[in-house]
Symmetry: C2
Subunit: 200 residues, 2 copies
Amino acid sequence: MARRSDHSREELREMALSAAEQIVLEQGYEGLSARKVAAAIGYTVGTLYLVFENIDDLILNVNARTLDRLHAQMEALQASSADSRDYLERLGEVYIRFADEDPHRWALVFEHRLADGRTVPAWYQEKITRMFAMVEDGLAPLARQRPQEDITEAARAIWGGVHGICILALSNSLGVAGVDSVQKLTRSLISNYLQGFTSE
Amino acid sequence: MARRSDHSREELREMALSAAEQIVLEQGYEGLSARKVAAAIGYTVGTLYLVFENIDDLILNVNARTLDRLHAQMEALQASSADSRDYLERLGEVYIRFADEDPHRWALVFEHRLADGRTVPAWYQEKITRMFAMVEDGLAPLARQRPQEDITEAARAIWGGVHGICILALSNSLGVAGVDSVQKLTRSLISNYLQGFTSE
């Protein structure tokens, strides 16, 4: 069998990530394997592992692209929002829509567990921190009297809260059906939280 | 091989559920199979399926027992709480502790998906509804001017919110470590939400 070798390392990387994303999109997390990704791009698993350290590394890079897409949507929202409150309330909507439109790749971000003993690399942790920072940016002008510690905590509480509603709703565990009802719950969570958080 | 037949249907059912619970406790969701449960109780898979319709039915019954344990803790908390607000704020703690102490069985409740086309049976749905009802019971006295619809929505927003913090924290996605920090986030979520919800 002739082995293709007409791609640069960077091209190989891009092809592999796109193929992996497509597999997750269509078949979910369980469908993803190094063998399938290699087959999809016409290379061997050995070549794949010249570009990625291991399957965890490949998955982290897929997840990084998912986080980048979400981050881009959050930035666009921030730019188009009337004020901080409007921005934060609509952040929930963006998150729910994102999860609803791309459930498999969204789920991969938080369902994937590194092998025991491995820790998330700094470049990936930075992508998570950057998302929280965007929520903190929205909160800070609403609670100027609060220390940074409170802002950090609130960003995590809101993010976790929206995430949980999203998960339970998409798995039909909240007794609510449809994205509209989920959006309503998310708005309820964020607006009541903000009212409490900013009133003290 | 001599087949044991010295147990009643009810005893078999109890043995199988206990064995399944033990397997999930030790090995997680992925470790559970009809074959393993049957082996653990010394019967064949065929006998197991005289007592349970299929593996989904077995898992739903395991999950029902998990929900019963959580419900019992919620009832004890309600009985020992000073007032509704105290009760609701401590509900979050109970939930986090429950998930932290028994992560595999807790996860099985929401990670298990029925085969396509199957719906959750009414007896199981009732166990979910009963949990939300306990949150609604706590909310109602705090917001007497609110229609039932708002109480229902708030119960789901709070539950989903606590659940999300719990998931993200236990999977180390919130940048917080330790059950104490998670408890703090949960208290932040519930108390700020309640302040917003009851102030209108």
